[in-house]
Amino acid sequence: MIALDLALQRGEFSLELALQSTARALALFGPSGCGKTSTLLAIAGLLHPGRGRIAIDGRVLFDRHTNIDVPPAQRDLGVVFQDARLFPHLNVRENLRFGMPRGAASRTFDDVVQLLELSALLKRRPGQLSGGQIRRVAIGRALLRQPRALLLDEPLANLHREARAEVLKHLRGLKREFALTTILVSHQPDEVGALADGVARIDDGRLAALEDIETFKASTAIPTALDTPIARASG
């Protein structure tokens, strides 16, 4: 359950959003500059709303009224940034392990590495990875934090076609395996269609509509390249 009620001012841009969604995977959909990334950053604790309340699965992360503002490190979220932000001075293995809780089973590490097909890359540095590989490592790193919810900022952006298909396949796999509450930011309908259960349409800092995925797909043109038979079958 995702409960957002926030107001944020960044320079001349003002964001005011209030929504409640029971979707397991909620997409924040809208054109560039509409405020969706800012919303994500606010949920992560990296931006501070002027007022409002943010709660995920019953945990209150921010509430201006009762002066709750949980620091980002304690929000227990896994964030996959649009620019990946892998640590350049660490190799892939060290990047992946960075957020792992102490005493976490090494099985979990092996599982995620296998799921994301990263075993061959463990000793490499981020500078030696392709775009798609970087994305996968970023996703793995966020997952290995064993968070209670996952935040993804444009996970398929700026990837060429093969890489997009590769990452998407893994994201779908993760969705099946982990079933984590997920908030996904995207301006691409096919990404949303493939990964989300519910969609919040955002326009110019305001909520335009809150819909389930079927309604969204029906009302939005989705390019067929990604709309594979597998995706259609699992809805």
């Binding site: 980002p72 929000r75 932000r85 640590f87 500078g127």
Partner: protein, 231 residues
């Protein structure tokens, strides 16, 4: 180019004093630089001014302040004397003078190094559960290593060449506080000793050149590393 026994002692003492001085200065400079680079608080400009004070004050004044505070009967000096850890007229006092004079250089270099680290990486570390200490030691510090080394090289050069504060605070005592610059000064001040002065000057120039070279190498090859993740 051979040095006399006295000159060799002065040279060795200078290395000892500078290395210890910079080493002691480092943790304090790291803390100060981090505060300047990453925090905001009331009175920050005044704080910054205080940190840079040894750079602005005439070294003799700084030496005098050290004498009043850390010398015998000084507020801190008397505590040190009581504990048997007196630094007045000892190489440790010379190291303190070197540390104080090199400190601002170190702070400025470290601050620049910390500020050049992409804060987005620090934010990412935070979302992964890292507290401020872990962020600093796990992300900020490793990524600012080049700037740190460059700063250390410059600070070492400054400490090595330190004269005014040292001679005012701990005077010239062969084997204890008579560092290379002080020995050089004595030679320059004695008519007919220009030969020795030249020798020591050459040594000082070599040390300074090596330090500058290290600093330049670190800074030129620094900046964004070629393998940094691209979005």
């Amino acid at each position: 180019m051979l040095l006399t026994h006295a000159e060799t002692i002065a040279l060795a003492l200078s290395f000892k004093v500078s290395l210890v001085g910079v080493a002691c200065s480092l943790p304090v400079a790291v803390g100060g630089a981090w505060l300047l680079a990453r925090t905001r608080f009331f009175g920050k400009s005044i704080f910054e001014g205080l940190l840079l004070l040894p750079l602005i004050l005439p070294p003799v004044v700084t030496g005098y302040v050290l004498l009043i505070v850390f010398g015998h009967h000084g507020p801190i000096g008397r505590l040190l004397d009581a504990a048997g850890l007196s630094i007045a007229f000892r190489w440790t006092g010379a190291a303190l003078a070197a540390a104080v004079m090199a400190f601002p250089l170190l702070v400025v270099a470290l601050r620049n190094a910390f500020e050049s680290v992409d804060r987005k990486l620090e934010h990412a570390a935070a979302t992964l559960g890292a507290g401020p200490w872990r962020i600093f030691f796990g992300v900020t510090l490793p990524l600012s290593l080049r700037g740190l080394v460059a700063g250390l090289a410059l600070a070492f050069a400054r400490a090595f060449g330190e004269f005014g504060a040292t001679i005012t605070f701990v005077s010239s005592i062969p084997g204890q506080t008579r560092t290379l610059p002080i020995a050089l000064y004595e030679l320059v001040s004695t008519p007919g000793r220009e030969g020795g002065a030249l020798r020591l000057t050459l040594v000082a120039v070599i040390v300074a050149l090596v330090a500058s070279l290290v600093a330049a190498l670190m800074l030129l090859r620094g900046g964004t590393r070629p393998d940094e993740a691209e979005a």
